[in-house]
């Protein structure tokens, strides 16, 4: 205890020398604080984007291979490009992988209900012609399986609830198959209350069997495929579709409030099928229950998140083994990740380099100062040793002195560093963004898009891609935060710094014998 007391008194006894040492330590600590805060915040941002871009898997068609396939299958010189599809069952099967941290499967199907009126249903009826083949009742146009209707049944689509855009107004979320929740507007307009049962109709489709001849088929003909009866529908282009109507009887268990806009785009014409208030939310299993494995209609969208971006090759191999065609690419959006994160990485690199340089230079200056200081204090050490103080205690006292100075610098440095880090970060990041943009403008097409449709592709019941983001912009703002982890790192660095300076004292002291010091002095 007396060693600490003596150390604290010594700080006051040798003010000018300690202020000089303190100034150097303060400069190092301040730089370290700013650099580490920026570095750790940047790491968090990078980690977040890595998670977002580099972990999410995109299964996108390789258009070159699609074209080649189409050319290969062409018999009359005409190239018919057929939309590549991944069966929804297969998409769900891919989700069952040890390489995935998480997979989110959702589904949707357009539907109609003759018993209730959809929001904007009148506008839909006015704007649409009745020329298309109608299989389902209630006024919706059913051009292809699951693609059109006044309502959209969504399976396991809770993202808006997680985002705070939707919330329960009454009742509860569906817990069992056959349960649903509806929007408050739909509920109010039709006086639907919790407990009511709504009956929706929707269409399922199946591929035309190759062994059946449809050359003389007429709209509305009935055919049986796999023990199920389908209605023939022929488009203006002559494409034959086989569809059957299915019924969803859903019990309303809750009503939700919707904060989103009614339409995804304000320029869109009013249409019941596109109005988000007509979305009926249920479970994915409910939607899939009415569907046979070989049928289309329920648009299944599965988003896969790898445990680690490096596991992509293994996941790719696994999905190939599970039957994914070679015409699909399995990617993560590394290009967008790099584009977005590059300035932050630059910022991180600058901050760390700066910190290392300051620490090295600062440590050298500190070493010299400590060395000079210990020479000045040689006599004092000699007296203490002559009084019987052990070398270890003398060294400990000197270390406590420098540690106290470091602690004071640490507190001030943390305060000032936290305040200064944000403007410093903004300035450096701005430079990095400008540099990145200048670089991009000089070399167009620098690989920001590697494959697939920029806006993502909706391919026959499975949303593929949708994530290779051509318009991904570099991070231009970074909210600096001082985390507990950063504080801990700074404290460790400060203690190491104090110990480093203390080592000089300790090594010198071990060489000093009190009699020699006192004789030199005398």
């Amino acid at each position: 205890m007396y060693i600490l007391q003596n150390a604290l008194k010594n700080l006051m006894r040798n003010k000018s020398r300690n202020i000089m040492i303190g100034a150097i330590i303060f400069a190092i600590v301040l730089t370290t604080v700013i650099a580490l805060i920026i570095n750790n915040t940047a790491s968090a941002v990078i980690g977040e984007y890595k998670e977002r871009f580099a972990s999410q898997v995109y299964i996108t068609p390789n258009m070159q291979k699609v074209m080649e396939e189409a050319r290969k299958n062409s018999t009359d010189g005409k190239v018919l490009i057929k939309k590549p599809e991944i069966p929804s069952e297969q998409l769900l099967q891919f989700a069952n992988s040890d390489y995935l941290k998480e997979s989110i499967a959702t589904g949707s199907i357009a539907a109609n209900n003759a018993d209730i009126r959809a929001i904007d249903q009148d506008d839909t009826n006015q704007s649409e012609t009745n020329s298309a083949s109608i299989v389902g009742g209630g006024g919706g146009i059913m051009t292809s399986a699951g693609s059109n209707g006044n309502y959209k049944l969504y399976g396991d689509y809770w993202q808006n609830f997680n985002d705070g855009l939707r919330s329960l107004d009454s009742g509860r979320l569906p817990e069992a198959d056959g349960e649903c929740i509806i929007s408050s507007e739909l509920s109010d307009n039709n006086s639907i209350t919790v407990g009511d049962v709504l009956t929706f109709t929707a269409n399922m489709g199946v591929d035309t069997p190759s062994d059946m001849d449809f050359s003389n088929a007429q709209d509305g003909d009935k055919v049986t495929v796999n023990d199920k009866e389908y209605t023939v529908s022929i488009s203006a282009m002559g494409t034959v579709r086989l569809q059957r109507e299915v019924t969803y009887k859903l019990t309303v268990v809750g009503v939700y409030l919707d904060l989103t806009d009614e339409y995804a785009n304000s320029n869109m014409p009013k249409s019941a099928g596109l109005n988000r208030r007509n979305e009926v939310l249920t479970t994915l299993d409910t939607l899939l229950a009415e569907r046979s494995i070989d049928e289309t209609g329920v648009m299944v969208n599965v988003t896969y998140y790898l445990k680690n971006p490096e596991l992509l090759p293994e996941f790719d191999e696994e999905v190939r083994a599970k039957g994914l065609s070679d015409i699909f690419n399995v990617d993560t959006d590394t290009a967008s990740y790099e584009k977005v994160v590059k300035p932050v990485e630059g910022l991180k690199s600058i901050s760390i380099t700066f910190m290392v340089v300051v620490m090295i230079l600062g440590s050298i200056i500190l070493l010299l100062l400590a060395s000079i200081s210990i020479r000045e204090r040689k006599y004092e050490i000699g007296v203490l040793r002559a009084m019987g103080m052990k070398k270890a205690k003398v060294a400990f006292g000197l270390w406590l002195e420098i540690l106290t100075i470091t602690c004071i610098c640490l507190v001030i440095g943390l305060g000032i560093g936290t305040m200064v880090a944000q403007p410093v970060s903004d300035m450096l990041l701005k430079n990095q963004v400008e540099a990145a943009q200048a670089n991009t403008s000089q070399s167009p097409g620098d690989g920001t898009i590697t494959s697939g449709n920029p806006s993502g592709m909706v391919l026959g019941g499975a949303q593929l891609g949708g994530g290779v983001q051509a318009n991904a912009k570099p991070v231009s703002e970074m909210k600096i935060a001082l985390s507990a982890y950063t504080i801990m790192e700074i404290i460790i660095i400060a203690i190491l710094l104090a110990s480093f300076a203390g080592i000089v004292s300790i090594t010198k002291i071990t060489k000093y014998e009190p009699i020699k010091i006192l004789m030199e002095r005398n």
């Binding site: 009084m387 019987g388 052990k390 014998e513 006192l518």
Partner: protein, 223 residues
């Protein structure tokens, strides 16, 4: 009781061939005042630093009681076993007089409950008042520093007190006062007091006087 025994003690400085101390045999007892006189350079201060545990002899043995100083923890010995008054004071110049005393007591792990009060009392005993005691050593005169040095040597109540010219900077009155303290330490408190001096007045209080000449110690007078 023998508190300090030197047997055939020889010393030479590193890198030199000449022995500064040449086979010194002497025993110091508790309860007596010893003075060592001799010309400058005769080896008095060297002998003192060996006895103070600041250095070790080249040959021979120095026993503290029955323990060989070479085998003892000499830091512990200096902190608790012996009190040294240096000719050049060797005080912490940036600290106050009282801080010097309290620090010495802390190093020696003194059990005194109120070290600061004890330090003031001790300083008063050697003629340093409270106001002076609170001044930094650098602000004190040579005589005052000398007295602080004496007080520090006595602060941890050592069995042996060694003083190198302890009255060299003192006026006649203070010298008499200090000598009285040394005499009392030996005769009343049973301590062994060894004083290296040129002063004839100091030798008057000695029970035994030794003369140091050419590295040898010779007993000159015994009361």
């Amino acid at each position: 009781m023998d508190v300090l025994t030197l047997q055939n003690v020889t010393y030479k400085y590193e890198g030199t061939k000449k022995n500064v101390l040449k086979g010194i045999d002497v025993t110091f007892e508790a309860g007596k005042v010893y003075t060592i006189v001799g010309k400058s350079g005769s080896g008095k201060s060297t002998l003192l630093s060996l006895m103070a545990g600041l250095d070790i002899c080249t040959d021979g043995v120095i026993l503290h009681g029955k323990s060989d100083l070479k085998k003892l923890d000499r830091d512990e010995y200096r902190a608790k076993g012996i009190g040294v008054v240096f000719q050049s004071f060797n005080l912490l110049t940036n600290a106050t007089a009282v801080e010097n005393i309290v620090l010495s007591m802390n190093i020696s792990e003194s059990h005194e409950p109120d070290k600061k009060t004890f330090a003031y009392t001790l300083l008063e005993k050697v003629g340093i008042d409270k106001e002076t005691a609170d001044r930094k050593i650098l602000k004190l005169s040579g005589g005052e520093q000398q007295r602080v040095g004496i007080a520090r040597a006595l602060s941890h109540n050592p069995g042996i007190v060694i003083a190198d010219e302890p009255t060299g900077n003192l006026d006649t009155d203070t010298e008499a006062q200090i000598l009285k303290i040394f005499t009392s330490l030996a005769h009343d408190e049973g301590k062994c007091v060894i004083i290296v001096t040129h002063s004839k007045k100091v030798t008057t209080i000695a029970d035994i006087i030794y003369g140091m000449s050419d590295g040898k110690l010779v007993q000159m007078k015994q009361k």
